[in-house]
Symmetry: C2
Subunit: 135 residues, 2 copies
DNA sequence: CGCAACGATTGCAAGCATACACTTTTGGTG
DNA sequence: CACCAAAAGTGTATGCTTGCAATCGTTGCG
């Protein structure tokens, strides 16, 4: 739980949680249309529109128009936005790696198999659940 | 991660994250003075004062004056507020119990020792970290 | 008592998220 | 072409959080 909390903590000093959710979805799915994006994170189009205004202003995403349909607006991560998400995920991975570094290979192996066991029993975690925290 | 996310998800439909942080701190420490409470969750007194206004309005906490010093205001959970926090923690415990229920005693034992190993290696998790998500 | 420090609150202001209703532009279809 | 539906955005409004500065009551001390 501490690992999860810390991984969220860093990002929340830079962007808000709803904003981070947008970035995470885009990182997972690539550029998305406003409508699809809004549905993915569960907000109304008007809410998303203004949220994107602010995220564009901050430089994390870009609005693009698809050549085939000028009424559709594609949202895509800028390099900075991509960087932000990647960095956040790396930080958590590093945090875990650091924790594991003090353990012996046998201990690590035991942890890996136990975690896999637990994850298997937990079943598929819905993307929506993870999206709540942007993880 | 899914377990953590779900445990936060339910509560966030009832109170905001800053509000839930207040409740969690009170649940941990018992009734607190405004100043102490504000410092614990890292907000300015003015912010807290208005936040408490809303939480009192919602019925989760109560303002009390200490007999010895009438300028100090004690904040304490109402039964409803206590219930909210307790319920949130129970829900996470139930969620984990349900996951574990499909496993054999041996598997459970392996998971317990592996998790203890990991938690030990991770060291003490600072309360501040956990407070970010109200966990 | 009088004054300084303390503790909480309020005035004022800004930013963000959210919702409902409405408008504008665009695409598809009869 | 004319019309309808899709897609995005605006107008308007509400509520929460946060911050800085100022105020009000209270306590402690000389």
């Amino acid at each position: 739980m501490g690992v999860v909390a810390r991984s969220v903590a860093g990002v929340l000093e830079i962007v808000t949680l709803p904003q981070f959710r947008v970035l995470v979805v885009l990182d997972n799915s690539g550029p998305l249309r406003m409508g699809v994006l809004g549905e993915a994170i569960g907000v109304l189009p008007s809410t998303l529109s203004r949220a994107i205004d602010r995220i564009v202003e901050a430089g994390w995403v870009r609005r693009t128009t698809r050549p085939t349909s000028r009424r559709e607006v594609l949202i895509e991560l800028t390099p900075a936005g991509q960087n932000l998400v990647t960095h956040a995920l790396e930080q958590r991975r590093d945090n875990i790696a650091e924790i594991l570094s003090v353990l012996s290979p046998d201990e690590k192996a035991a942890i890996v198999s136990a975690f896999e066991l637990f994850a298997g029993a937990a079943g598929e975690t819905s993307t929506e659940d993870l999206l709540i925290l942007g993880i």
